[in-house]
């Protein structure tokens, strides 16, 4: 049985990426924080359902994903509003792809591609963790991710001036 202390220890290193993933979905830092908080509590409540032989990150990100969807439903109107205004200043020097530009390109893709790309890049999930979170066979992840990446590359290339 996974103890509460073990849960907190396993969760701690995931929080930054979880917040980034939630932020890419919800486009609001405070909503992202709320989603991570809700997922942390919900995971604690459902600890008994966690099978320790399966990837913890995949199990917990599935919970986080549902929390983000719940918040999106509550704040659906906010998706059309500009990003929150607490973005860091652009660093000087060579231009590089910013996270909101990557997110905008992902948003233009199909829902299935959006889902797997956000989990892969913002959540930094492995193939096994992606399979666990999305509830699909591991063999499906390789082909789905490949097609999603192709679509994203085409979308980013289209966005270039």
């Amino acid at each position: 049985m996974f103890s509460q202390a073990a849960y907190a220890r396993a969760l701690d290193p995931l929080l930054g990426q979880a917040a980034g993933y939630a932020r890419s979905l919800l486009r609001d830092r405070h909503d992202a924080e709320d989603a991570v908080q809700q997922a942390a509590l919900r995971g604690l409540q459902r600890l008994e359902s966690y099978d320790a032989t399966r990837p913890f990150k995949g199990w917990w990100f599935a919970i986080l994903r549902h929390c983000c969807i719940d918040i999106m439903r509550q704040t659906r109107a906010r998706r059309s509003e500009p990003l929150d205004d607490n973005e860091p200043e652009q660093p000087t020097g060579e231009p590089s792809l910013q996270w909101w530009e990557l997110d905008a390109a992902i948003t233009a893709l199909s829902p299935a591609h959006q889902e797997i790309l956000r989990l892969r890049y913002f959540g930094d999930l492995s193939y096994a963790e992606l399979a666990e979170t999305l509830g699909v066979p591991p063999g499906t992840i390789m082909s789905r991710l490949h097609l999603a990446r192709k679509a994203l590359a085409a979308q980013l290339h289209e966005d270039e001036p």
Partner: protein, 133 residues
């Protein structure tokens, strides 16, 4: 050797192929400049996308306590009982009723404060750890 599936090149880049298949794919790449160029391109894109996504990460402030929990651990309860017993033992030494009453009230206040402080520290998430990247 099985022909290369285009998705396998990405999986090879991600380190997600089996050892055997990764060796086979590495051999195919070594024998084909076109495959090597494609791998380089995939790698550059992946690096840029990862770097961009990583910049969205931030450390959220969390409190990890489930609704309905008392948030009072066994340690907290033992400390409070020990505190109360110690103060009660001191109070019994006073014959003056007023002094005993005041000391009892002080004991109750100290126990309440102790429960509150210790309960807030139970299961709290660390707030200043660096963001995992």
């Amino acid at each position: 050797m099985t022909p290369l599936n285009p998705a396998e090149l990405s999986a090879y880049l991600d380190g997600e192929l089996s050892e055997t298949r990764a060796r086979e794919v590495a051999a195919m790449i070594a024998a084909s400049p076109a495959l090597l160029d494609e791998l380089d391109m995939l790698g550059s894109r992946d690096t840029a996308w990862r770097a961009a996504a990583r910049s969205a990460a931030f450390r959220p402030a969390l409190r990890l306590r489930a609704a309905g929990d008392t948030a009072v651990s066994g340690k907290t309860i033992m400390v409070c009982i020990a505190l109360f017993v110690a103060i009660a033992a001191v109070v019994r030494g006073f014959d003056n009723l007023a002094v005993s009453l005041v000391l009892n009230l002080v004991a109750a206040a100290l126990v309440s404060i102790g429960v509150y402080v210790l309960a807030r520290s139970d299961l709290a998430m660390p707030r200043d750890a660096p963001v995992a990247t």
